[in-house]
């Protein structure tokens, strides 16, 4: 094993076993094979050192900055450049991206599929963003979609869902879920003047659609690993919608009930599946909702502060108990 001169234990390293010492010991005890020892020792020493995450972040940032610049240039210089040139460039990028993806993609599988090349996911993401940009440009310049913008969003969401499932891409799935939410929001704005209440109800409809859709797709074995993305988005939208109802001055009883049910469901799911994000959602959103109920008629300063002390301690005790019972042992 090469020694770079840094592996010598210093004075503060004495008295405990580093991972390298442990690996040596495990090899001598035959708990791990010599091959495993060599491999794991190398990994512990950063040999080889993986740049997987760094290069992915660089690609993502590059694609995003590229499209931001493209959008900025198009919106600023469209008059000088001319519609033909702008649309030709955007369409060429779009076509090149989609050609690359469709020509390189392996046969479709309902299970999780690794990308055929390291840049594949980012080419697809670039194509999806350029699609949004080009449609936005067409709308801005020609108003071709006037009156049917909601349909555009729906169609875009549909395209993104298709691409996400075809190429197994979570970036594009998130874009699809975002576009679907935009379509629902836009549709509501055409329908009613009482938008706050309507938005809340249709946020619930969105949660129902996405949640049920995600669950059905998971049960049918269609990219079941996407289900976590669906659930996280649904949980956050649901809690925001329900909380906005709880904050209402009138007619909030039903929303309080809905909040308690949502918190219970989120807590149960988080504990059963050991996905603690959902326990955290239940704790934080639930605390905010219940606190708003308790404090809406309290004006005394010391009563408010006492509430925060007592309720905070109660939450702390419950969460520590949850952590002890379900938490990962050290």
């Amino acid at each position: 094993m090469p020694d770079d001169g840094h592996g010598v234990p210093g004075p503060e390293n004495e008295g405990f076993m580093t991972i390298l010492t442990r690996l040596e010991q495990w090899k001598e005890q035959s708990t791990i094979s010599p091959e495993q020892h060599a491999h794991l020792t190398g990994l512990s020493r950063g040999e080889p050192f993986s740049l997987f995450l760094e290069l992915n972040v660089l690609l993502y940032a590059g694609v995003l900055v590229l499209v931001v610049g493209l959008g900025w240039t198009v919106s600023t210089w469209s008059q000088q450049l001319g519609d033909v040139l702008v649309l030709t460039v955007l369409s060429t990028i779009l076509a090149a991206c989609f050609w690359y993806c469709f020509s390189r993609a392996p046969a479709w599988s309902p299970a999780e599929t690794p990308a055929p090349s390291p840049i594949f996911d980012y080419v697809l993401y670039l194509g999806s963003l350029v699609w949004s940009l080009e449609l936005g440009y067409i709308e801005n310049r020609f108003h071709a979609l006037s009156g049917q913008l909601d349909l555009y969003l729906l169609a875009t969401a549909g395209l993104f869902f298709f691409l996400a499932y075809r190429f197994d891409n979570r970036f594009v799935l998130s874009l699809g879920l975002s576009s679907l939410a935009g379509w629902l929001g836009l549709t509501i704005s055409h329908w009613t003047a009482h938008q706050d209440a309507a938005y809340r109800q249709y946020a619930l409809l969105y949660c129902l659609l996405v949640g049920v859709g995600g669950a059905v797709l998971q049960r049918r074995g269609l990219k079941p690993h996407f289900f976590g993305t669906y659930l996280n988005i649904v949980a956050n939208v649901l809690f925001w919608a329900v909380l906005s109802g709880v904050f209402d001055r009138e007619g909030y009883g039903l929303w309080v009930l809905a909040m308690l049910i949502a918190c219970g469901a989120s807590l149960a799911w988080g504990l059963a599946r050991r996905q603690f994000a959902f326990v955290a959602y239940a704790a934080v959103y639930g605390y905010v909702g219940v606190s708003s109920l308790f404090l809406r008629s309290v004006t005394d300063e010391s009563a408010v502060l006492s509430y925060f002390v007592v309720s905070g301690v109660a939450m702390l005790v419950v969460l520590v108990q949850i952590g002890r019972r379900f938490g990962r042992p050290a």
Binding site: S50, L175, G185, Q275
Partner: protein, 400 residues
């Protein structure tokens, strides 16, 4: 000095590595079960989400309890009295954190972290009220005691509890110090940079003794913070908040500083990224490499304002092409090496954490990017937000 024993922390690190390795099938489940029994630590840890929530509720409790004390027991106290009690609260919080660790063996549990963070806040507020309330000279040099005490106390907690964000807090406190000593802006930049550089020299000297042990990552993060701090201090386009309105317009800010100083910092912002990157690559230090890449991008982004050149709308496009090009070239170059390895670097994924972070990033950042790239809606339909949804990203789920 450190509140946790080295063997406990090293055992925790070993267990984390084992979990990662079994996830990547470098170890069998049977091997993992055997080795797991050999890496039992008495420290009590928890999931990142529980840690965050426990932190939040502890801050709520401490803040509310302190406020309640003032409301119930001290009606309209003088600022000096309030300051003294805040100092007492700081001591109580710190003592509670020590007890939480020594008795309950909490490790990155949220509770003890919130207690020490509150103690830093109480200390600074208490000193300000107790020593300097009603002082006619708000910029007296002696008032630098408040940020100085904040910096020293944060550093102490960083050493004692190993919380990296307390080191960051100490760096932030240092920023306020030179303002009490001199009104010269270039001197203020220089003093902060000298503080950070001194810290960097100290960390560099100490960390070589901790290669491959549990402190390596902690020192790596601190070194990365210090490099970033030095860069942000010397990059006058980024660190001078008063210049920010001119930033996008590309107005030259040279008039704000003496010309030799201004152009000296311009040279330095070009010299620093390769130095940081080279050090990170040589030591195979992930955090330092990341900071090297960040400061390189910041140098490219702030070069035009530095030179007083106008910005162009296509600048981000060129930057995007450069970033993707560098990533693409590096990937291909490394992949073509023997076994996909060149000079000890590879593009292969060797840790399950990498995949997890990309998955979290895709969920959170995917929808956000749609909002940032799309043009403004047409005037005739003000409600319309093109390409945007109303939902945010979901965040991550994680096992306990």
């Amino acid at each position: 000095m450190r509140i946790y024993s080295a063997s406990s922390e090293e055992t925790l690190r070993a267990r984390r590595l084992l979990t990662d390795w079994v996830g990547e099938s470098f170890l069998t489940k049977a091997q993992y079960q055997v080795l797991e029994e050999e890496t039992v630590s008495e420290l009590r840890t928890t999931n990142v989400f529980l840690r965050l929530v426990l932190f939040l509720f502890t801050v709520i409790i401490v803040g509310a309890a302190a406020a309640l004390f003032f409301v119930v027991f001290l009606l309209r106290p003088s600022e000096q009295t309030a300051g003294v009690f805040l100092l007492i609260f700081a001591a109580v919080c710190y003592a509670a954190a020590e007890v939480a660790v020594s008795q309950a063996r909490l490790y990155r549990y949220g509770i003890e972290e919130a207690l020490v963070v509150c103690s830093v806040g109480f200390l600074c507020a208490g000193m300000q009220f107790a020593l300097f309330s009603g002082s006619p000279h708000s910029q007296d040099a002696v008032q630098c005691l408040v940020p100085a005490a904040g910096a020293v106390f944060s550093l102490w907690i960083w050493r004692r509890f190993g919380l990296p964000y307390l080191f960051l807090a100490a760096m932030i406190f240092v920023i306020f110090l030179p303002g009490y000593w001199t009104s010269s802006r270039e001197a203020q930049h220089l003093i902060v940079a000298v503080f950070y550089a001194t810290g960097l020299a100290g960390v560099a000297a100490v960390r070589s003794r901790h290669r491959f042990d549990y402190l390596e990552e902690a020192y790596s993060l601190v070194e990365a913070f210090l490099w970033l701090g030095i860069y942000l201090t010397i990059n006058l386009q980024l660190s001078s908040l008063t210049l920010s309105p001119q930033w996008w317009g590309g107005t030259r800010a040279a008039s704000e500083f003496p010309r030799p100083f201004y152009w000296g910092t311009w040279v330095l912002i070009w010299c620093l990224p390769p130095i940081v990157l080279a050090r990170g690559v040589r030591r195979k230090d992930r955090f330092v490499i990341a900071v090297g890449a960040i400061v390189a991008v910041l140098t490219l982004a702030s070069n035009k304002p530095y030179l007083g050149w106008p910005r162009h709308t296509w600048d981000p496009m060129l930057l995007g092409i450069l970033l993707t090009g560098v990533a693409f070239f590096l990937r291909r170059w490394l992949a073509r090496g023997p076994g996909g390895i060149r000079h000890g670097f590879t593009t292969a994924r060797l840790s399950g954490k990498d995949k997890h972070w990309i998955s979290v990033g895709a969920t959170v950042l995917g929808p956000l990017s749609a909002h940032s790239i799309t043009p403004d809606p047409q005037p005739s339909s003000p409600d319309f937000r093109f390409g945007g949804g109303q939902s945010g990203g979901g965040g991550a789920s994680s096992d306990f």
